[in-house]
């Protein structure tokens, strides 16, 4: 291949929107709103798995909650026909994520698993990603958080404890994904099987409203749920191409 052809090939490659031809895995979560009861098990599961700090009442009153997944609640109608709908909201791992482009130091970018990765030790805390995120799922460490002894012993050694001034968010429990991928690699280089890896929230969900898997595998549970006519994505008209697919309430 001569230089010109190489240049053209490189040019094409680097001019390709989204850059990746194919994700290794296209991790996707489906959330069945018809099943979600708002019980918040996922919230605590996430908090336990990901070393999410205890913020304290005063800080919560100032609006500095940290939980990576939250249950949003929307009332509809008035008494006696009032209804309350829940929707779990977590990082949507958008394939066209607005947060990624704005980070001046590339602390957040898209990895080959289709995950919206956040590199904590690269973050300088401009917080612009949180401004750009239409789903408001990025949380900022306003302080160094402390765990009174012996609470610090519950910290998950697979997940870093974030420093003050760092943005953080749902990672789809990337430590579990990594582990599953390593395991699959050791196991003869096979691919990760459907259901082999589950983020903490999916694992805990008592109504099995959350499903997690590889969208590229047509046999997977998520792929099947995504084919459901109830599937939609929140704020879809913003064209962020989220990896969280909601199933409509009936």
């Amino acid at each position: 291949m001569n230089i010109f052809e190489r240049f053209v090939a490189g040019w094409r490659k680097y001019r390709k929107p989204g850059y990746y031809d194919d994700f290794d895995y296209h991790w996707t979560m489906t959330i069945d709103l018809d099943r979600c009861t708002g019980c918040s098990a996922c919230v605590t599961a996430c908090q336990a798995e990901n070393n999410i700090p205890i913020v304290g009442e005063k800080e919560l009153a100032r609006g500095r909650e940290m939980q990576w997944i939250r249950i949003e609640r929307y009332w509809e109608g008035e008494y006696p026909n009032a209804k309350l709908n829940f929707i779990p909201m977590l990082c949507q791992h958008c394939d066209a994520a607005p947060c990624e482009t704005v980070c001046p130091v590339s602390a957040t970018y898209h990895n080959q698993d289709g995950l919206n990765a956040q590199v904590y030790n690269r973050c300088i805390g401009t917080r612009s990603c949180a401004v750009y995120c239409p789903y408001e799922v990025r949380y900022f460490n306003y302080y160094n958080h402390h765990w009174p002894t012996p609470l610090e012993q519950q910290l998950n050694p697979d997940v870093t404890v974030r420093e003050k001034g760092v943005m953080e968010k749902c990672t789809f429990c990337i430590q579990r994904i990594r582990q599953a991928k390593d395991h699959a690699k050791d196991d003869g280089g096979r691919r990760v099987r459907d259901g082999e890896v589950q983020p903490a929230c999916v694992q805990s969900c008592p109504t099995e409203a959350l499903t997690f898997g590889d969208r590229d595998d047509p046999e997977s549970k998520v792929a099947e749920k995504m084919r459901d006519p109830r599937a939609y994505r929140v704020l879809e008209d913003l064209n962020t191409d989220p990896s969280i697919v909601y199933l409509k309430k009936a």
Partner: protein
């Protein structure tokens, strides 16, 4: 060595006229030192062309190229796909290009200015402190007869003060 005759005038017009006379007399190329830019000096002392414009132009072009190269090169060398955009994205990189064009243009202009005006001055040059206040000064590098001739012309043109300047006596 290099002796200069220096004539101090109260106003720009007489200074300019004196400079014109000296130039016409063929003693040498007179220099005008003034507290403000004297308009019309070109007509008297001959037109000037500066190289600054070339510096600015090529500085800008180099800046633009290096700006795009910086942005695109960084993106290609450190692959961080973001926001579903291509690795080489035009709209943002053109902004970087634009800013770098101007930055290099400015820096090159400064460089051009320094070079063409021969700054910073590392040696003593002919200078009269009053020129920074309100005197318009005509200087001419000459020795011997030429020097006398210059003094005469300057005196005729109404120089308030005529001095001799050489490197040893600043």
């Amino acid at each position: 060595m290099a002796d200069h005759v220096v004539g101090l005038f109260d106003d720009a017009e007489s200074a300019l006229a004196a400079a014109g006379r000296i130039k016409a007399s063929g003693i040498g190329q007179p220099e005008l030192i003034s507290p403000i830019p004297v308009h019309g000096a070109d007509e008297v002392l001959g037109p000037k062309k500066s190289v600054i414009r070339r510096f600015t132009f090529f500085g800008g072009i180099i800046g633009g190229l290096s700006g795009f190269t910086l942005a695109a090169g960084t993106a290609v060398l450190y692959l961080h796909p973001t926001g579903g955009r291509p690795i080489i994205t035009f709209p943002p990189f053109l902004i970087i290009t634009y800013e770098m064009t101007i930055l290099f243009g400015i820096l090159a202009t400064v460089l051009g200015f320094l070079i063409s005006a021969r700054f910073p001055a590392l040696r003593d040059r002919v200078y009269v402190p009053e020129a920074a206040v309100d005197k318009f000064v005509v200087t001419i590098q000459c020795e011997g007869d030429a020097s006398n001739q210059a003094r005469m012309i300057l005196g005729e043109m109404g120089a308030g003060d005529i001095r001799q300047w050489n490197e040893a006596t600043p």
